[in-house]
Symmetry: C2
Subunit: 85 residues, 2 copies
């Protein structure tokens, strides 16, 4: 079966998010004064062949640790969003 | 009231995603051979003061058009994820 898994990488609480802060400033300057804050996150949508969903989720956790996230500054979330076949 | 709105920016169908392709290659090289494809997306989590949710959603759509997304290559999705106050 093919799984579609969303891995969302976000900055840990307390880590500066200059891209988010500058986006907020730019939105305020463009006239969107009601915007109080902006945070940025990144999502990897991964398509994986899988016989065993639990095993695949553990593998995706390995992928986060080895490549996708930096454990010093990032938290991550793993969600299976689609199952096919 | 304060709304927390997630704006997800993704590449339109058919637009090349070199970051996703290279992430897939790297995962395969690291031994994750079951990975068939990787796509990347970006999310802006926006905190907005709002009296009127529908009006705020239209404003966020304006933000996408003016700053957050490039209509030539991006699609976007707007989701209210939290209401406070």
């Amino acid at each position: 079966m093919t799984l579609e898994i969303d891995v969302t990488i976000k900055l840990k609480q307390g880590v500066a998010d200059p891209e988010g802060e500058n986006t907020k400033k730019a939105l305020n300057l463009l006239g969107f004064r009601a915007v109080r804050g902006v945070k940025t996150m990144k999502t990897f949508k991964i398509e994986v062949e899988s016989q065993d969903e639990e095993k695949t989720k553990r593998e995706v956790e390995e992928m986060c640790k080895k490549l996708l996230a930096n454990p010093v500054i990032h938290d991550y979330e793993i969600n299976v969003v689609k199952r096919e076949g």
